[in-house]
Amino acid sequence: MSDAITLTGPYKTAEAKGKTRSLRTLVSIRRYASPLVLVCLWQVACSLGFLSTRLVASPLQIVVTGWTLVRDGTLPFNLGVSLLRAGSGLGLAITLGVALALISGLSRIGEDVVDAPLQILRTLPALALVPLYILWFGIGETPKILLVAVGAMFPIYLNLHKGIRSIDPKLVEMASTLGLSRWQTIRDVFLPGALPDFLTGLRYAVGVSWLMLVVAEQVNAESGIGHMMMDAQDFLRTDIILVGLLVYGVLGLMSDQIVRFLENTLLAWRPDGRKGRSA
């Protein structure tokens, strides 16, 4: 019996329960301990002058600057501008991506017309379009929103298209024996069946949106978090740059949580083991 294994849940006996609980606390402490220690070391290094504030601001300084930026309205204003850009771009990306994926996923002609050009376009790095955008649209809001939209559209389109195409044909057949109309089949079979893939696409699209936004705002902008950071660079304000980074981090984390929440509510029909599989 040397190659036998025992699979147990976390809650077995009272004794084992106590053991696993202390183990879990230990694990979570360990997970947070290491970043905390690093931040402390960072602070100490800055205070003792090992790290020049020209290279990197101290954690305390970042907190203070962050608070100042909130108080004088700089951070909320720029954050609002950035959110608006990312939101409009993502909204446009979802609208376009979903429409194109439906056209190419639900009809053969649509696939020929839509899919081939998009598959070619997607191989172009979206960021390489920046110079063209500036030429075409100047430096207003349009190029920034479009950059986000184009970048984020591809993951939406590709995943939803794949989702629609990979619907089990047996289910479609069933729908037809039940006498469902084309519209009912789309509504009850294709769309819900492709939803998991759509949400995977959405998750990627959100990530891409932030990336595009960072670039758009750092290349040419009069406002936004990216602009705030570029501005700070001119004055060697590493503290402001780091506040910007922190904001990007929090935004990324939050949008990921939102998509995850959507997945858990909309895909409640999936058995527990598969939930958040793509996390």
Partner: protein, 244 residues
């Protein structure tokens, strides 16, 4: 009401008529070759045959999933199919799957009533992926019955179930058939299942119905019925399996 593909002359007193049906795939040899079959209203017919003999092909044609290219098929408009896999939509609760495509007010009640019939009321609100194999097949049966079909097609509906569940399901089908009185075409590999349920067993071979035997054993039937023995060896012979 009858539904005619390429032939108009519904014979009275017949639910399903297949005449000279020929079907080939990609210009290969015919899978169905001038097949004739008639099923009376309320008649229970078991369709046997080797794997690959064309049973599913015939069923798909009858269900309207495959086109009639050569020959004629007459069948009632209201038909239902149950396949070997349940084919429930995983993203709709069981009761919504039952009444899929129906959009009037009474759907919930109808769904509950038919789920009660197949003994699945307690799972009405469950997600299909949480059903056991037998439960899922019951749900598929309920979905077929809720449409009050005049003709019910079952393509090896119990093949993937364990022996015990299969026995229960056979009993259930017998009861439901008695109650609903629809014509049934049951595709099966199980000679005993055919003998237990059907009025008539037909064997499909080389594209045609080669053997057509009435099963007159009185109902309710049991697997241990003495009348089974002769029919069983007859059908096994027709299938090329020689019982010792």
């Amino acid at each position: 009401m009858t539904h005619t593909h390429s032939h108009s002359d519904p014979h009275p007193g017949t639910a399903v008529i297949v005449e000279q049906l020929t079907r080939r795939f990609n210009n290969g040899p015919p899978v169905l070759d001038g097949l004739d079959l008639a099923i009376a209203p309320g008649e229970f017919v078991a369709l046997l045959g080797h794997s690959g003999s064309g049973k599913s092909t015939l069923l798909r044609t009858l269900a309207g999933l495959d086109p009639v290219t050569d020959g004629a098929v007459t069948r009632p408009r209201e038909v239902s199919v149950v396949f070997q896999e349940h084919r429930l939509l995983p993203w709709k609760r069981v009761w919504k799957n039952i009444v899929l495509g129906q959009e009037d007010k009474g759907i919930r009640q109808r769904a509950e009533a038919v789920l009660e019939e197949v003994g699945l009321s307690h799972r009405s609100n469950a997600w299909p992926l949480t059903l056991s194999g037998g439960e899922a097949q019951r749900a598929a049966l309920a979905r077929a019955l809720v449409r009050e079909p005049a003709f019910l097609m079952l393509d090896e509906p119990f093949a993937a179930l364990d022996a015990l569940t299969r026995l229960k399901m056979q009993q259930l089908v017998a009861d439901l058939w008695k109650k609903h009185g629809c014509a049934v075409l049951l595709v099966t590999h199980d000679v005993d299942e055919a003998l237990l349920l059907a009025d008539r067993a037909v064997v499909l071979e080389r594209g045609r119905i080669r053997v057509d035997v009435p099963i007159t054993i009185p109902r309710p039937r049991r697997h241990s019925d003495p009348g089974f023995e002769g029919l069983r060896s007859l059908l096994l012979d027709a299938l090329g399996v020689h019982a010792a």
